[in-house]
Symmetry: C2
Subunit: 269 residues, 2 copies
C-alpha cells in the first residue's frame, strides 16, 4: 500500500469534496488482513520508539485534526497500543484558559513540543486557531489570515532544531458523523462523549470544510506535511496512520547510542 497518495503536496490545490472518506472494502487486503497488519505495524512502531528514546537526539511531533467524531482519540488508542507510554506524550488542546489567552496562540503549544527522544501527539492543536477561530470569527480576518505564515514558520523552527512533524487530517463524511453522534446517544457508556454543542458545530459543516481546505493548502510543507486520511472506516484510518508513522520513523532511522567506553573492560563487583 502506497500511503504517499494521501499526502497533500505543498502548494497543490485541495478539493475535499473529491478526496475520499473511505476506500473500497478490498483496501489493504480487506478488514481482517488490515487488522493483522496493524498489529505488526504497532509492534514495529514500538521498536522504533524504543530506539528514538534511547538515541535521544530527534523528536517526532504528530498532529491530529478532524471534525468532531473523526476519531482522533480512537487513532491514538489503536495505533499506539504497543508503544511504551514512557516515551509518548499526548497533549489534548481544549478551550484555552485565561492564562493561555493572555498570550499569543502558539505559546501554549510551544510548551508541549516534544523533547528529543520523545513522540509528542497533539490531539487538536494550534490549527484550531485557523479552524474554530476562523469559522466562528473569534478574531478578525486580518488576524487569522496571518496565522498560516506564523504556523509554517513555527513548524520550520521545530523541524530545523530536530523535530520531525507529521500531520493528519482525519477526513469523514457528514453521513458518517451522523451515525457516530447517534451511536453516542444510543450507548449509555458513550453518552458522556456527546456534547449538545456538537450539533451546532455540525450545522457549520461547510464552513469547517472550507477552513480545513485552506489549512491543508497553506500549511502542508516539506518540513511538516499534511496527510488527509479517509476516516469513515476506522480500520482503514488506523492502517494508513500507522503506516505513515512507521515510514516516517524508519526514515528518521534512530539508533541505539554508541557508548564512549569499552564494555569488555568493565567488571561489576
Amino acid at each position: 500500500m502506497d500511503v504517499s497518495r494521501y499526502r497533500i503536496e505543498p502548494g497543490a490545490p485541495v478539493d475535499l469534496m473529491r478526496w475520499p472518506t473511505r476506500e473500497d472494502d478490498g483496501f489493504g487486503g480487506g478488514k481482517k488482513t488490515a487488522r493483522k497488519q496493524l498489529v505488526e505495524l504497532s509492534r514495529r512502531l514500538g521498536e522504533l520508539q524504543a530506539r528514538l528514546y534511547a538515541e535521544g537526539r530527534q523528536a517526532l511531533l504528530i498532529v491530529l485534526q478532524g471534525m468532531d467524531t473523526a476519531g482522533k482519540d480512537g487513532t491514538i488508542r489503536h495505533v499506539f497500543r504497543a508503544v511504551n507510554p514512557q516515551g509518548v506524550r499526548v497533549t489534548t488542546f481544549k478551550k484555552p484558559t485565561a492564562l493561555e489567552l493572555a498570550h499569543d496562540y502558539l505559546w501554549r503549544v510551544h510548551r508541549h513540543a516534544p523533547a528529543r527522544g520523545e513522540i509528542g501527539i497533539f490531539n487538536r492543536s494550534h490549527y484550531e486557531d485557523v479552524l474554530v477561530v476562523r469559522v466562528h470569527g473569534l478574531v478578525p480576518r486580518e488576524v487569522w489570515e496571518r496565522r498560516y505564515d506564523h504556523i509554517n514558520a513555527f513548524e520550520q523552527l521545530l523541524a530545523d532544531e530536530g523535530t520531525r512533524i507529521v500531520k493528519f487530517f482525519l477526513h469523514i463524511s457528514k453521513e458518517e458523523q451522523k451515525e457516530r453522534l447517534e451511536a453516542r446517544l444510543a450507548n449509555p457508556e458513550k453518552n458522556w462523549k456527546f456534547n449538545p454543542a456538537d450539533l451546532a458545530e455540525r450545522k457549520l459543516w461547510d464552513a469547517y470544510t472550507e477552513a480545513y481546505r485552506v489549512m491543508l493548502e497553506r500549511t502542508s510543507t516539506a518540513a511538516a506535511p499534511w496527510y488527509a486520511v479517509p476516516a469513515d472506516r476506522k480500520w482503514q484510518r488506523n492502517l494508513i496512520v500507522a503506516r505513515v508513522l512507521v515510514e516516517t520513523l524508519e526514515a528518521m532511522d534512530p539508533r541505539f547510542p554508541k557508548v564512549d567506553f569499552d564494555p569488555r573492560t568493565i567488571r561489576v563487583d
Copy 2:
C-alpha cells in the same frame, strides 16, 4: 493472590534484609500462568483507565522507586501496555536543572501531579530527595531529616484534593543487580543503558538500603501507602504491581459520567 502483604503498614518497622526479593517459582501459578494473568490485568487496567478518564473527577498517582536496574522502565512498559497513552502521563525525574534547584525540591514535582481523569506515573520522584541526597550528603542532615514530614504533608494534600496515591519500591538483591549490569555490558543494544557511574552507586548499596528502609518506615501512610515489591523476577514484579493497581482503581470505582440531557430526545440532522 493477596498483594496486601507487600504493603508497608504505616508506622510498622521495616527490615529489608528479610523482605523477599523473589517468591518461589510456583508464585501466582508459575511464570506461564502469571503471564496470562498479566495480560488479563493489563486489559482490565485499560478498561478502568478509560472510565477514570471519562469520569474526570479523580486522579491516580503512581510512584516508582528502586535501585538502578530495579526495573522501573520495564514495569511501565509491561504493566501499561494496554492502557491508552492519552490518559497516562509518565514523568521521569532526572538530575534537577538549575531552574529546578532554584526552588524547593517539591516545586518541580507538584507541576507534574496528574490532573483529574489522569494516571500520572513518576519514574523516580521527590523521594530521591531523601535517597540520593541523603546518601551523598548533598544537603545537611537537618535539612533532609525534615523532608519526610514535608512529603507526607504534600501527599496528604494531593489525596485530600482527589488524587489516589500508590507507591512501589522495586526490591532487588545485590546479586540480581550484578547480573543486570553485566547484561547491559554484554548486549550492544543495551550498552547505552549502562552508566559507569552506576558502579560507584553500587558500592553504596548498604547506605541506599538504609535510606530506603527509613523512607518506607516514615512515608508509608494511609493516604499514600508503599508497596515493597519482590523484583528479582520481572514476571512476579509485573504481576504484583498490576494487581495492586487494578485493586486500587476498582476501589476508586470510576464511572462513566451521567449526562444532564435525555439522549432519546435528541435528533441528529
